[in-house]
């Protein structure tokens, strides 16, 4: 496909910031040492770079560097948190609490644990995608060993009441894991203020490289103990064996340093662009609904349903624009987004949803161009939509020949 391409799918991944890339490059060639090599300067320098990155990452979330554990990404971090805690605390209890709109990285771990004899409560969300702290309190049991709740949802951007849940977890002495992949670097995250004990996030969602993740593991009050899930060499204080991805970690550190610097300004700029996109679309189109919470959401997220138009065909019609859809057409039985379903959105409306994720390098011109393409494509697809025709002939607005 030729022509210009506009990327508005930053919940999936982000481009590497040029400043991040520059910081990484020496660690592929000149400084290629193994951070675990203790006997020469190649190893020492690699280790020094890793520790510097660890500090920067810790700083962004107000943690101590010793509480940062490197992994291959947020999925591995979620696995380590959930399986690591369950294995250690199985003797105390076999119940976990999570939410229906979690990422598969958490849900699939929970399903796996259910096969191993654990019980999991999947908390419902309201129509904006938020879990209520009261439902967390009510669902806690004597044998609950872990609460796992994401900071921000990857589809609708809804922010959960993490601090309130953290407080409840503390009161009840239950460990609290938070998948903050979508939130870190986008909204302020302070592990102390939020009261989380474990937190997963990844470099590639905040303009760092793919393949570098982190699990924050609280060291004090309480000191969280985990059973390692990967063995072979005892790296990361025995918690996660395997040679460290030095260039990736260096890039992760730089990405966090940049995020800490630009976050307030960037968040308000992206929220402004996001609202501009929303306004431009809805001023020209009827029957467009927002999915998620109008205020309590990520600043760069916009999830809309365009009645009568299926999401995948809409994505295709918007040539050169990269977004995502809550509709999946890969087989006859495919279910639409589990997140929208949990929010009580009908299947039909879920099939018409599109997720826009704005990012650091999007411009106002791009926003205006995407808005124009959305409007034009939706109008064109509504012209060939039997649902649009039915709805409008019922209202007596067109296609008079269709009604008896």
């Amino acid at each position: 496909m030729g022509g210009t391409r506009i990327y508005m799918d930053h919940h999936s991944t982000t481009p590497v910031d040029p400043e991040v890339l520059a910081s990484m490059l020496p660690y592929f060639t000149q400084e290629f040492g193994n951070a675990a090599s203790r006997s020469h300067s190649f190893g020492w320098r690699a280790e020094e770079a890793v520790e510097k990155a660890r500090e920067r990452i810790a700083e962004l979330i107000h943690a101590a560097p010793q509480e940062i554990l490197f992994t291959s990404g947020a999925t591995e971090s979620d696995n380590l948190a959930i399986f690591g805690v369950s294995e250690i605390l199985a003797g105390r209890g076999k119940h976990l609490l999570t939410c229906r709109t979690e990422h598969p990285a958490v849900l699939d771990c929970c399903k796996q644990l259910e096969k191993r004899g654990f019980q999991v409560t999947y908390l419902p969300v309201d129509t904006t995608g938020r879990v209520s702290p009261e439902s967390v309190r009510d669902a806690l049991r004597e044998d609950t060993i872990l609460i796992s709740l994401m900071a921000a949802n990857n589809e609708v951007g809804t922010l959960h009441p993490v601090a309130e849940v953290g407080k409840i977890a503390k009161e009840r002495g239950v460990l609290f894991h938070c998948d903050a992949s979508q939130a870190v670097g986008k909204v302020p995250i302070d592990v102390e203020a939020l009261g989380v004990d474990l937190m997963a996030f990844t470099a590639h969602k905040l303009y760092g490289p793919k393949g570098a993740g982190v699990l924050y593991v609280r060291k004090r009050a309480p000191r969280v103990r985990l059973a390692p899930q990967v063995f072979g060499g005892g790296h990361e204080r025995g918690m996660r064996s395997g040679t460290l991805n030095v260039p990736g970690i260096v890039g992760f550190g730089k990405a966090c340093e940049i995020a800490a610097r630009v976050m307030p300004e960037e968040a308000s700029r992206l929220a402004g662009l996001r609202d501009r996109l929303h306004d431009r679309i809805t001023s020209d189109l009827e029957d467009v609904q927002l999915n998620g919470h109008r205020e309590l959401r990520l600043p760069h997220n916009l999830n809309l349903s365009f009645a009568y138009v299926e999401g995948e065909s809409l994505m295709l019609a918007m040539e050169g624009v990269a977004v995502s859809s809550g509709s999946a057409c890969t087989s006859a039985s495919q279910e639409p987004s589990h997140v929208l379903k949990a929010m009580g959105v009908s299947d039909e409306r879920a099939h018409t949803s599109l997720r826009f994720g704005l990012g650091r390098f999007n411009t106002q011109e791009e926003v205006d161009q995407v808005a124009a393409q959305v409007v034009e494509s939706v109008k064109r697809l509504r012209e060939i939509s039997p649902l649009y025709e039915m709805a409008h002939s019922k209202n007596g607005r067109s296609h008079a020949g269709d009604t008896p």
Binding site: M1, H11, S12, N154, E155, Y308, V309, E310, E312, S313, M315, L316, A317, S324, S325, G326, S327, A328, C329, T330, S331, A332, Q334, P336, S337, S346, D347, E348, H351, R355, E383, I384, S385, P386, L387, E389, H399, G401, D402, P404
Partner: protein, 147 residues
């Protein structure tokens, strides 16, 4: 979030971007047969309409709510059906549609929906034409009173 895993083939794109047979015919016209398949809740709803005179499909029109594969399948089914007789159009099947559009295996059901809608439209066309012929044979001006 699920998405398209690869760009659809050129024929799918052509049909989606310039669907020449998109539109609707009056379903109450005795010469128009209408067929629908799928459902909005399942993410694909296809409607095909045929304007038929003496067994010949003079016009074929579709409307579709669904992914690119469904739109392209309905569009191609209409393109092939137009100008053919009802019996000839009956030979248009999902295998041929999916093959011509180079649909991946995961999109086969899109072609199946187009086939189903077309079959349904052909069936209704036949029913309507039969009742027309019967009326003409019996020299009756309108329906009813055939006993």
């Amino acid at each position: 979030m699920p998405a398209i895993h690869r760009e659809p083939g050129p024929r799918v794109l052509k049909h989606c971007r310039s669907p020449r047979h998109a539109g609707s015919l009056d379903p109450h016209d005795p010469a128009v047969g209408t067929g629908t398949a799928g459902s909005a809740a399942a993410g694909d709803l296809v409607r095909i309409q045929l304007y038929v005179r003496s067994q010949e499909i003079l016009e074929a029109r579709f409307k579709a709510f669904g992914c690119s594969g469904s739109i392209a399948s309905a569009s191609l089914a209409c393109e092939w059906a137009e100008g053919r007789t009802l019996s000839q159009a009956e030979a248009i099947g999902q295998e041929e549609l999916a093959g011509a559009l180079e649909l991946p295996l995961s999109k086969k059901h899109c072609a199946a929906l187009a086939e189903e809608a077309l079959r349904e439209a052909i069936r209704e066309s036949r029913v309507k034409e039969m009742s027309l012929t019967e009326r003409n044979d019996l020299n009756l001006p309108s329906s009813g009173g055939a006993e």
